[in-house]
């Protein structure tokens, strides 16, 4: 990548962030993200509280108002282990993953649901709104279309990281307020680590959103189409997975899944650095493939 291209991407990304940070929509989305994370965590804590209550009864000790004291006992429960095993796709990974507070693990799963929605909402309109209002002309006169797209993408990813960090803060607050004996630093580090895993998982959704944004010149249409695509992908993944076998149809289903966002849910929980690096690389390649598919159209369109 040339120095000029990188410099232009940086200018466009800064421009994108300046715009986004002052929009009420971003504040609403971040508040929505925080609220959704808070509600999901509250539900999880209620579940833990119930399980701790059962454990306390079995041990003949008093129930506590806030869960956390008997978390080691609760984590031995087959019910919770099955639930967490399903969450990370493979229960054999669970012990390695539980060296951080269980709430951090849960926060990663919540981020893997919320970040794709957040990123697709932002990326699906970032180009189309500028094409619709023709403000793209102020940029297109001055730089190539590729740095415009990549700069906007980088800007949106920064917004995604901001949303993820909002989730980490909510997780920390929930751990401190609704639970006891949760190490604050361990929870923060754990939820940051799982937020990063969630970003790897969500990245292809951002690419898919940007693809939609480059194809459609009406921002509202692009937003609706992106949400329909998000739902379609969510449904398509398990359906294609069910078809996965050695037949031609099965191989075709596997090939399709290679390029679909949302296929690496289990992979991002792994603790093998090489496997994680490969998962990240695959995620980046799929993301760039979607961005490139959108760019094919954007590069040819009248502005």
């Amino acid at each position: 990548m040339s120095r000029g291209l990188v410099a232009d991407i940086a200018v466009v990304a800064t421009y994108e962030m300046q715009q986004a940070l002052r929009k009420r929509l971003l504040i609403v989305l971040l508040l929505g993200y925080a609220a959704a994370t808070g509600v999901a965590h509250w539900g999880f804590v209620q579940g833990l509280k119930e399980l701790e209550g059962q454990a306390a009864t079995a041990m003949g000790v008093a129930r506590t108002e806030r869960p956390g004291i008997l978390i080691a006992e609760v984590l031995k429960s087959s019910e919770l282990r099955r639930f967490l095993g399903d969450l990370v796709g493979d229960s054999s990974r669970l012990d390695a993953l539980l060296d951080v507070p269980v709430l951090a693990l849960w926060s990663g799963a919540v981020a893997m649901v919320l970040l794709p929605v957040f990123l697709m909402t932002g990326t699906s309109t970032t180009v189309s709104v500028e094409v619709e209002t023709r403000s793209i002309r102020f940029l297109a006169l001055r730089t190539e279309r590729l740095p415009i797209v990549l700069g906007k993408f980088v800007g949106q990813l920064v917004m995604g990281v901001l949303a993820g960090l909002t989730g980490v803060i909510v997780t920390e607050l929930v751990g401190l307020i609704l639970m006891v004996q949760v190490p604050p630093l361990g929870l923060a580090i754990g939820s940051l680590e799982h937020m990063a895993r969630a970003m790897v998982f969500a990245l292809p959704y951002a690419g898919l959103g940007l693809c939609v944004s480059q194809w459609l010149a009406r921002a509202n249409v692009a937003r609706v189409v992106a949400m329909i695509v998000l739902v379609a992908v969510t449904i398509a993944n398990p359906v294609l997975d069910a078809y996965s076998d050695a037949t031609l149809l099965g191989r075709l289903a596997d090939l399709t899944r290679l390029f679909l966002p949302g296929t690496g849910w289990g992979d991002v929980w792994g603790d093998d650095p090489l496997a994680l690096a490969l998962t990240t690389a695959r995620s980046v390649v799929v993301t760039l493939a979607w961005v490139a598919l959108g760019y094919w159209r954007f590069d040819r369109r009248d502005l």
Partner: protein, 301 residues
């Protein structure tokens, strides 16, 4: 009315369009459009709504691709960022400004994308904002600016980085008379330093500012010439007399120098006025040529 001029790529032209066709679906926007604009001139682009002015500017700035024909911008071929970056500024007629940024942030970002270093970009942004009288609004969000202020900001965006070619689509639309006059003064300072193309329906304004004019109709060029030639200011004179008129004279005396007449207009004017005064005529007004508006609506334009 003259036929469409035959245009070839010529030296000294900042812009040359040859045989440009452009359709939007079934609608023909440009139909074999050809004209050239001399370097360093301030050129008026006039024509009724739908004549193809905005499409022409879009093609010149690389926003639209012509279906056929050739375009040359600043002797470097059709507009491409790689070759023209920072050399062309445009005020797009219907492009909305990003409302959440401030004028200073926008102009700085655009100047950086034009290749200016951070210091030069900041200085250029500041100079341009001052030139359109927006220096005191530099750090206000665009959303809080009035329509006229936003218009002036888009003009500043076309001037940032001191480009060689400035394309302006309706630059004074929505401005009050004082702001419009100030803007004309700003643009006049670019004469000779840059080529300026102004698309507008305000013909008196264009006549006072421009030295070249291109008249479009239904996607074709009806006439592209010097303003003096179109208005007749270099070959025509109109003298208004007060009664009683000298024998054989009427209230208005026209003088039109034929192309083969070797005399210059000042010389012919002197001779005519000398004759009229000798005949005892009382002269009320002497006017060179006709108004652009008159010529635009007249059959021969």
């Amino acid at each position: 009315m003259t036929g469409a001029p035959v245009v070839e790529r010529s030296q000294g032209a900042a812009l040359t369009l040859v045989g440009i066709d452009r359709r939007f679906g079934r609608a023909v926007a440009l139909d074999g459009l050809s004209f050239a604009v001399p370097q360093g001139s301030i050129c008026a682009l006039v024509g009724e709504n739908g004549a193809g002015k905005t499409t022409t500017l879009g093609i010149l700035a690389g926003f639209l691709t012509p279906d056929s024909g050739s375009v040359d911008v600043l002797g470097l071929g059709p507009y491409h960022v790689a070759t023209h970056r920072g050399r062309v500024g445009i005020l797009p007629q219907d492009a909305e400004l990003p409302t959440e940024s401030t004028p200073a942030e926008l102009l700085y970002a655009w100047a950086r994308l034009q290749g200016l270093d951070p210091g030069a970009a900041r200085r250029s942004a500041s100079t341009c904002l001052d030139s359109v009288l927006l220096g005191d609004r530099a750090h206000q969000r665009v959303a809080t600016l009035s329509h006229g202020m936003r218009r002036r900001l888009t003009v500043a965006s076309a001037l940032v980085g001191d480009p060689e070619l400035i394309l302006l689509d309706e630059p004074t639309s929505g401005l009050d008379p004082a702001q419009a006059r100030h803007l004309r003064d700003v643009l006049a300072t670019r004469r000779g330093r840059a080529t300026v193309v102004i698309s507008s329906h305000n013909l008196p304004e264009l006549e006072s500012l421009c030295d070249h004019v291109v008249i479009l109709e239904k996607g074709r060029c009806l006439r592209a010439d010097r303003m003096d030639a179109v208005t007749g200011r270099d070959r025509e004179l109109c003298v208004h007399l007060a009664p009683p008129f000298p024998p054989g004279r009427e209230a208005i005396v026209h003088l039109r120098l034929p192309p083969d007449d070797p005399r210059e207009l000042p010389e012919a004017t002197s001779e005519l006025l000398r004759d009229l005064l000798g005949e005892g005529a009382r002269i009320v007004e002497v006017r060179r040529g006709g108004a652009l508006e008159e010529r635009y609506f007249s059959a021969d334009r």
